[in-house]
């Protein structure tokens, strides 16, 4: 299965990133391009709990395709969220269920941010996403 164009571009960029500084810069850049969330979307129902940072995840479907929006008050986490969204945006439920997101972050060289240890938000976001798409 070929990657969405945005995802392929992100992958190329991160594969060539050298060192933690460049990775962090790239995360901040991609995070800054994340579509902002309306204040009205920052509800408790959209909050992802289990993160030390504030994270919101909004989901919806258009013509059977999943549309996600997400943001956080932490900058680097916004970058990780952006990398998640480019991979899952527009997929149908079947494709989303079949997707190995851990492998995606491993490809990006960012798998350590998926650790279930509680200071990290990405793990909780993935759990929440699975929960949301499997209970329509």
């Amino acid at each position: 299965m070929s990657l969405p164009a945005d995802a392929q571009q992100a992958l190329d960029t991160f594969t060539h990133a050298k060192g933690w500084e460049q990775r962090a810069r790239l995360l901040m850049q991609i995070g800054d391009r994340l579509e902002p969330l309306d204040e009205s979307d920052k509800t408790d129902a959209n909050r992802v709990h289990g993160c030390e940072s504030l994270v919101w995840l909004v989901t919806g479907q258009v013509d059977g395709q999943w549309r996600f929006r997400a943001t956080s008050d932490a900058r680097l986490l916004r970058g990780l969220l952006a990398l998640l969204l480019v991979r899952v945006q527009g997929l149908d439920s079947e494709a989303l269920a079949a997707l190995d997101l851990r492998a995606w972050f491993t490809q990006l060289g960012l798998e350590r941010h998926l650790s279930p240890s509680r200071s990290n938000g990405l793990h909780a976001v993935l759990l929440r996403m699975t929960e949301l798409v499997s209970s329509p």
Binding site: A74, L76, R112
Partner: protein, 401 residues
């Protein structure tokens, strides 16, 4: 000037972590272990494990002897008058829960329990839940601007309705020593029982429970360079006699019939089931190791490193420390920078510190913070560890700003 730790080589994991480019500054969460402990565990398991207080056979007798010798060592470490005043638990949390359940029968609706505003969840939630079960009033003693219990207010708040006070000795977030002598004396004068959470305090300096004058003192082995899964509860003999049995099972019983049973007194009556035998033996070996160190040298090393940490943080623009840390650790936030971002970048650079609410959510909320970064020291840390942390912090901040 480089300040080495003379004890660094006694902790093999520090070298292993260094090979993985990790600088360990999270000892308030848990500590690395001395070789003496690893040897004791290996010796116990390779020379014949056996259950304690049960078997007549030789391995059982040897295990029981080693186990009980550890109890003597814990008693000596705390200067308890008698080893029977030491109950082994699974950690400080389980010791505090034991107390909250074991003392429950002595409370009546309307009685008061006093805790401080800085308690770790382990010394807050057991009392909060006891208060809810029994319709008691939980009184929260406020802090001063340095992060110490406000003595004047506390002496007013601890009164004739107070049945129990439960206080941390050294804050796990603020690094402040609490004014326990005055508070404990006052509590005693009011007829209240006192519980000291020594989880952090026991790691720094030697503490004499008789001199401290508390009814109960708890600590966790794993924060004191010992194995995890074991903790200790010291109780004054008269105070221990007030405890009701709370967990039932093997070895805590004297006589059992289908419909009734009688139970042993402390300590064995409060050690139901097979205890963490290897860990208890390992804790004994750790205490032997710690007792072999020059206490003045350890104190001087820790104080000097702590000063280095606090100064370095104070020198940095935008860094705001929580309270006025006196020992062991310092927590901070940075103006305009999210904790999670700092934590992320420190992690990327191999600096192991703790970020978040540090199991003291009400305290952080009271300070108006979502979280903070905590740097905490062990006796194996040296000034290079701190330098690596400061360099990483500066690099991270440069990137974020």
């Amino acid at each position: 000037m480089f300040q080495p730790s003379p004890w660094r080589a006694d902790f093999p994991a520090i070298t292993a972590l260094q090979r993985q480019h990790q600088t360990y500054l999270d000892s308030a969460a848990t500590t690395q272990k001395p070789q003496a402990l690893l040897d004791a565990l290996s010796h116990y398991y390779s020379h014949g494990a056996a259950n304690v207080h049960r078997a007549q056979h030789l391995p059982g007798a040897l295990a029981t002897q080693a186990f009980e010798t550890s109890r003597d060592k814990v008693a000596a470490w705390l200067n308890a008058a008698d080893s029977r005043q030491i109950i082994f638990t699974h950690g400080a949390t389980s010791a505090l829960n034991l107390l909250a359940y074991g003392l429950e029968h002595g409370f009546e609706a309307g009685d008061e329990i006093a805790v401080s505003a800085l308690e770790h969840h382990a010394n807050l939630l057991p009392w909060q839940q006891l208060a809810r079960r029994r319709n008691l009033r939980l009184v929260v003693l406020p802090l001063d601007e340095h992060g110490r219990i406000d003595l004047d207010q506390a002496l007013q708040l601890i009164g004739s309705r107070t049945r129990l006070v439960a206080l941390s000795q050294l804050s796990n977030v603020l690094g402040t020593w609490q004014p326990l002598p005055a508070l404990l004396a006052h509590a005693r004068a009011q007829g209240a029982l006192s519980v000291v959470d020594g989880a952090q305090g026991v790691v720094h300096g030697r503490h004499d429970v008789q001199q401290l004058g508390c009814d109960f003192y708890v600590f966790s082995s794993h924060k004191l360079y010992g194995p995890d899964g074991v903790g200790a509860l010291y109780g004054r003999t008269e105070a221990l006699a007030r405890l009701r049995h709370w967990q039932f099972g093997g070895e805590m019983v004297q006589l059992a019939d289908y419909h009734e049973a009688s139970f042993r007194p402390a300590p064995l009556g409060f050690e139901a089931g097979t205890p963490p035998i290897a860990s208890v033996i390992g804790l004994g070996a750790t205490l032997d190791y710690l007792a072999s160190l020059d206490p003045a040298a350890v104190a001087a090393h820790e104080a000097s490193l702590h000063q280095h940490l606090v100064r370095g943080l104070a020198d940095r623009e935008g860094v705001r420390m929580l309270g006025t840390p006196q020992s062991a650790l310092a927590s901070f936030v940075i103006d305009g920078v999210h904790n999670a971002d700092i934590a992320h970048l420190l992690t990327e650079q191999g600096i192991a510190v703790r970020a978040g609410h540090h199991c003291a959510m009400p305290l952080l909320k009271g300070l108006g913070l979502e979280g903070a970064i905590r740097v905490s020291l062990g006796l194996y840390n040296d000034s290079d560890d701190l330098q690596r942390f400061f360099d990483a912090l500066d690099q991270g901040l440069e990137l974020l700003r």
